[in-house]
Assembly symmetry: C4
Homo-oligomer: 276 residues x 4
C-alpha cells in the first residue's frame, strides 16, 4: 500500500509538491507552529482560568488549530509543526536530513515565539500572578498533573498521575497523531487531500485523552515553548525539570511509526515480487 502512494491523485489544493524555496518551507513551519501554539497557550491560560477547565474546548480547539494550519501551510512545507512528525518523515525518506534540521529549528522558534507573545500580553497584578495564568497550560505529571492540581479530593486521597501513566498516554496518543500525519503524506513530502481532516481528528482525540493527565503535550515544541517562560514563576514543580518526558514520548512514537511504515513497505515489495 505504501508503494501505491506515488500514484495518488492531485491534491485538493492543486499542489503536488512542496515549495522549492527552503526559506519558504522554514517560514511555513515557523508560522504554522506559532499559530498553533499561540492558540493552545491562550485558550489554556485565560480561556481556562476564567471559564473553567473544559476538556472538549481544548480538544476541539487543538484539533482545529492543527487542521487549519495544515490547510494553510501544507502546500509550502507539508505541514509538520511537530518534531515527532518530522522525525518520522525523515526516517521514511519523505524529506531530507537537511530539511529535517531546518524544520526542527523553525518549529522550536515558532513555539518559543508563541510562548513569548502569550506571556507578554497576559496582564498580571499582585493577586492575579503569572503562576495563576500558567497552571493549566504547562505539560506536567505527578503533582503537576492537571487533574491533581484541579482536584483537592485527589490530593487528599494521595492519588496522583505519575510518570508511567503520563508516558503511556503520551506515547499511545502520539502514535495516533504521527500515524495520521505520515499516512496522509506522499513520498515527496506533500500532503494528500484528506490530510487536513485526518490531522484534526487525530489531535482532537489525543488531546481529549491526554489533557486531564499531562495537559496534552504530543508535540515537544508545544511543551517547550511555554515551559521556558513558566520556569521560575513559582509553579509547584519547575516545568523544565519534567520536559524530558514530553520530548522522549512523541519522538519515540515518531520512530515507531517510521519503523512500521518501512517494514510494511518492504513487506509489500516482497509480496509483489513473489507474486510475479
Amino acid at each position: 500500500p505504501v508503494a501505491s502512494i506515488d500514484s495518488s491523485p492531485i491534491s485538493t489544493d492543486g499542489a503536488t509538491s512542496l515549495s522549492k524555496s527552503p526559506l519558504a518551507r522554514a517560514l511555513a513551519e515557523f508560522a504554522g507552529t506559532f499559530l498553533i501554539c499561540f492558540a493552545i497557550y491562550t485558550v489554556s491560560t485565560y480561556g481556562t482560568v476564567l471559564y473553567g477547565i473544559n476538556i472538549l474546548l481544548i480538544a476541539v480547539l487543538t484539533g482545529a488549530a492543527y487542521a487549519a494550519a495544515t490547510a494553510v501551510f501544507s502546500r509550502f512545507s507539508g505541514a509538520h509543526f511537530n518534531p515527532a512528525v518530522t522525525l518520522a518523515a525523515v526516517l521514511t525518506s519523505r524529506i531530507s536530513w537537511l530539511d529535517a534540521l531546518l524544520y526542527l529549528v523553525a518549529q522550536v522558534l515558532g513555539g518559543i515565539a508563541a510562548g513569548a507573545v502569550a506571556i507578554a500580553i497576559l496582564p498580571t497584578t499582585e493577586t492575579v500572578t503569572a503562576k495563576a495564568w500558567l497552571t493549566y497550560t504547562i505539560n506536567g505529571f505527578d503533582t503537576t498533573s492537571l487533574s491533581y492540581l484541579a482536584n483537592s479530593t485527589l490530593q487528599q486521597a494521595g492519588l496522583s498521575f505519575g510518570s508511567t501513566m503520563a508516558i503511556v498516554v503520551e506515547v499511545v496518543m502520539s502514535l495516533l497523531v504521527v500515524a495520521a500525519a505520515i499516512v496522509t503524506m506522499r513520498e515527496d513530502g506533500s500532503a494528500l487531500p484528506n490530510r487536513t481532516t485526518a490531522i484534526g481528528f487525530a489531535y482532537g482525540v489525543a488531546v481529549a485523552v491526554a489533557y486531564p493527565i499531562t495537559g496534552a503535550g504530543l508535540n515537544p515544541v508545544r511543551s517547550t515553548g511555554i515551559a521556558l517562560f513558566a520556569q521560575g514563576k513559582g509553579l509547584t514543580v519547575e516545568p523544565l525539570s519534567q520536559l524530558w518526558l514530553f520530548w522522549i514520548c512523541p519522538l519515540l512514537a515518531g520512530a515507531v511509526v517510521a519503523l512500521v511504515m518501512l517494514l510494511s513497505s518492504t513487506f509489500s515489495e516482497m509480496i509483489a515480487k513473489n507474486a510475479m
Copy 2:
C-alpha cells in the same frame, strides 16, 4: 446504485485496494481497535469521574476516534474495527470469510489490550477504587444504565432504562453506524474517499443517543474489552452478565444492513435487465 460502486474514482489517499498481506490487515484492525477503545475507556473513566458526565464530549471523542483510525488504517484493512461491520462486509462479499475471522480475532484482541492497558494505568487507593473509575465506562442497562446510576431522583422514582429500551437504542443506532461503514466501502473492501467523515458523523450521533441509556456499546468489542476487566470489581451488576445484549444488537444490525444491500443490488440488476 450498488453496482456502480465498482466504477468509483480513486480514493483520496491514492489507495484503491487493501494491503495484500493478511498480517498487515490483521495488525491494522488490531491497532485501530486498540486506539479507539483506549480513547473511549480513558475519557469515560478519568475524564468522566473527575470532570462529570459530558454526553457531547463522549460523542465527539468517539466519532473522532473512529474517524481518525479510519483515516490511518483504511488503506491497509478497510478500517472495520467492529465485528458488526465485518459481518455486514462478509455477507455482502466485500471480504472473504477467512478475512472476516482474522478481522474478528484482531478486533477482540485489540479491545482486550485496550482494556488491560487502561486498567493498568488507573491509580487506585482504598477510597478511589477500581469500581469508582469503571462505573461510567461499562455498557449496561436496567440498574446499570448510566442515567440510572447517575441520577438518584430516577432511582427513587423507581424508573430505570430496561433491556427493551437498550435493545431499541443499540439496534437503531448500530444500523446507522454499519450502514455508514458499508455504503462507503467498495466491493473489494477498500474505502471510498468520504468514508472518514461518514464514519465520524455516524458514531458521533449514535453515541449521543445511546450513551445516556447503555453507555453506548454499538460495537461488541468495545463492550467486551472493558467488561472483562470490570468483572469482579464490585459493580452493581457484573458486566459480563449483560454482555449478550451488546453482541446481539450490533450483529443483528450488521445482518440487516447486509440484507438490505443485497436486496437493493438484486433489485437494481432486475431493473437494469428489464430496461434492456
Copy 3:
C-alpha cells in the same frame, strides 16, 4: 453557475445518479428521516431532561445526524429528508412531481415512526410523566418557547418569544438549510461530493440559532412526528395548534430558494447569450 452543475465531476461515492427504483428511493427517504428524527427526539427528551438544556449538544447532534444520513442515503434518493428541500428540488426540476409526492409521504411516515418509537420506549411513572419528557422536544413559540419554559425570570418579567420572532428565526435559518441542500444537488437530483459536510454545517448553525426560541423546527416532518404524540399529554399549549408555523416557514424558505435559483439560472443564460 447553475448551468455548469451538469458538467460536475463524479461524486466521491462513485454514484452519479439516484436509484432507478422508486421503492428504493422512498425507503431511503423513510429510513433517513426516521434515523434523524429518532436521534433528535431521544437527545431532546432524556438527553435534555436528565442532563440539562445544552444548545451545542443539540446543534452538533442534529447537524451530524443530517450529515450521516446524507452520507448513507444520498446515492439512493438524493437525501432530502425535509419537505422544504423536496419542494425546492421539484420547483427547480431536480426531481419530478410524482417523486416529490412519494418523498413527502415517505418523510412524513419516517417522522411519525420515529415519534412513535421514541414515545414507546420512554419509561413513565406518576412523577415522571410523558409531559416531563416532552417539554423540550416539541416545537413551539410564545409560552411554549423553550427559553420561556426554562426560565422563570423571563416568565415573571412577562417576556416571551412570540410568533413573529419564531417566524423570522425559522424562515431565515430554513433558507440556509435549503440553500445548502439545493446548491449541493446536481440537476438530476444526485448529490455533489461536498453535500455531506455542507448539510452538517448548515443544520448545525440553524439549530444553534433556532433551538432557544422554537426548539428548532426547520423541517415540517421533524415538528409533526413528535407533535402528534405530544398532543393531549398536558403540555402548556397543545403542540398541533402551533404546528402551522413549522410547516409554513420551511416551505416558504424552500420556495424562495427555488425562485432565486431559477432567476439566477435564467440570468446566467441571458448573460451567456449576450456574450456570444
Copy 4:
C-alpha cells in the same frame, strides 16, 4: 507554489469560475454576510444571556456559519464575507478593484441588515433592556472586554484586557482566517474544494482565542453591524468609539497575507527561472 494554483483540479461543486453577473456576486456576498452575522448576533445575545457564556458554542457556531455560507455561495462570489479577505484578494489580483468595492458595500449592508433584524426581534421590557441583550455581542476591549464584564473578581483586582492585548489577538487570529481564505482561492477568485472546511476550522480557532478578550471581531463588518444598533443603548462604553480597532486589525492582517503571497509568488518564479 502560488503559480501552481492555476493548474488545480475542478472544484467539488463543479464550478470553476464565479458568477458572470456582478449583481449575483453582490447578492451572494450580501446574503452570506447577513446569514453569518445574524447567526453570531442571535447566539451571542439570547443564546448567551439565557444560557451563559460558552466559548465552545460561539466558536463552533461561528466556524460552522462561515463554512456553511462558503459552501452555499462560493460558486457565485467566491465567498469572502469579510473586507479583510476582499482586501487580500484584490491585492493578489484574484478580483478586480471594482469588484472589491462592490463586495465591500454588499458585506457592510449584509452586516447592518443582520444587526437590524436581530435588534428588531429581541423582546425588551423595563427589566430586560436592550443593554442586557447586547453586552456579550458587541466587540470591545478594556472595560468592555467580555471577560472583564463577566468577571467581578477581575474588576476588583483592577485587571482588564486593554487595547494592546486586543490588537495582538485580533491581528494574529485574523492572519489565520485571511490566510485560510486566500490559500484556498484560485487566481480567478473561485474556491478550491477544501475551502469550506479550511474556513470553518480557521474561524473556529480564531473565535475560541479572541472571544474572551474582544468578543471576537475578526471581520470589520461583523463588528460594525451590531455596533451601530448598540450605540446609545447605555452600554459601559459606546461601541462605535472602539470600532476603529476592529477595522484596522483585520485589514492589517489582510494586507500582510497579500504581501506574503506576492513575495512567495515572486520568489517562486525567480527560483523557477534560475532552475532553467
